[in-house]
Symmetry: C2
Subunit: 260 residues, 2 copies
Amino acid sequence: MTENKSTKKPVILITNDDSYSAAGIRKLISLMRPLGKVVVVASEQIMSGMGHAITIKTPLRMKKIASEPDYEEYVCNGTPADCVKLGTQIVLKFKPDIVVSGINHGSNASINVIYSGTMAAVLEACIDGIPAIGFSLLEYSMDADFSHVDEYVTAITNQAIARGLPQGVCLNVNLPAISDEKPKGIKVCRQAPARWVEEFDSRMHPRGGDYHWLTGRFENDDLAEDTDQFALENNYVSVVPVQYDLTAYQAINTIKDWNL
Amino acid sequence: MTENKSTKKPVILITNDDSYSAAGIRKLISLMRPLGKVVVVASEQIMSGMGHAITIKTPLRMKKIASEPDYEEYVCNGTPADCVKLGTQIVLKFKPDIVVSGINHGSNASINVIYSGTMAAVLEACIDGIPAIGFSLLEYSMDADFSHVDEYVTAITNQAIARGLPQGVCLNVNLPAISDEKPKGIKVCRQAPARWVEEFDSRMHPRGGDYHWLTGRFENDDLAEDTDQFALENNYVSVVPVQYDLTAYQAINTIKDWNL
């Protein structure tokens, strides 16, 4: 796809971490195609729980699997962060107007953001100065129903394309699972400080030796109404502006006082 | 190792992302043993570039490879984040006084923090309310020389044990590579907004098809003197207080104004 500044159609790069065949990315593609020129670069394999992994020990390979007017699709052996690098530097060779990632099968709200491959792709784009949004549905099943999300995904993406995003800021959007009630709307939130507790299911192997499955339950001690967890528990779509500058500025003077 | 509140010796959990056999973790173990009771949980495999990956699709296995007075060492098939979970929940069954991770072979300064398995372990501990520090050396070689780092690693760890860290804050410490000149001291910094550019070396396979190696150069446009990159380029040890709350608070009102 060549850069064409004369057209008004925005160029949209799509990736995810559930592999190119997941229902979530298929939904996202169907929602993005009416909005602009779409390039998809996604992994052939599920990359969930890969965090912000990048591939440095093996070479990356990519192949085109679809080419239609205003639409190209590639699969590769990379992580979500790799997909963004490949999409911008190898496929497009210019910066798209926006990167959208997802729709993830499962929540990336609260502390899940830091484990998320979906959001790693978004942060990668953000570092590169490209507006970027991660979308996730609060339903882990690969058969998840995405039929209620269209208007929210489209509205948020349209606004981000039209207005851009502040330097160093991207969006983490989570969507409630489908229920009898339509979502109540969209809430702009902060990340809840929830965390996973009692995380292992330990078992004995029939031939000896124990092994441990990562599991556990999610606990949120912060009951304030401005968090993403609160919004989602009350059937709102949550939007958290996210940054890749992890500096805890409020702690700099405390550590300086250590007189190291 | 059992919890013993009557002793004054702090319990120190050590992990890394270069595997249990790396020179960096061996150095860190040698520096921590005089400071308290040490438990090591590290991966058998190199986990560099794994970001904040966690293992959800395969069970975790762990075995004890050393047991001495005030010292236990385990290896496992998990990522650095998994190692912290295993160490606190399966091995110790209580929270250690501190988690230290590293010493990584290679920089985790600036934006590298978000790709870092070393720092993922630190953030994991921080989420769990445990003071935690990641140490990294600006030398990628597995033969890296760590002989100049002792006083800095020990001083920073001792202060963190004695004073604790603010809620939700951990430390990202980077150490200059060895040179003819001793490091000038320790600087408390913010994360530099540097980034990787021109990241692929693309080649043609002899049997056809191209492949791409992730490579490139690191660029820092921010020449201010309060960043970790500046400190390291001037032969200081850098200490950045880091948080896992990624909310871009300054952008919340901007996004609210979108009237979604």
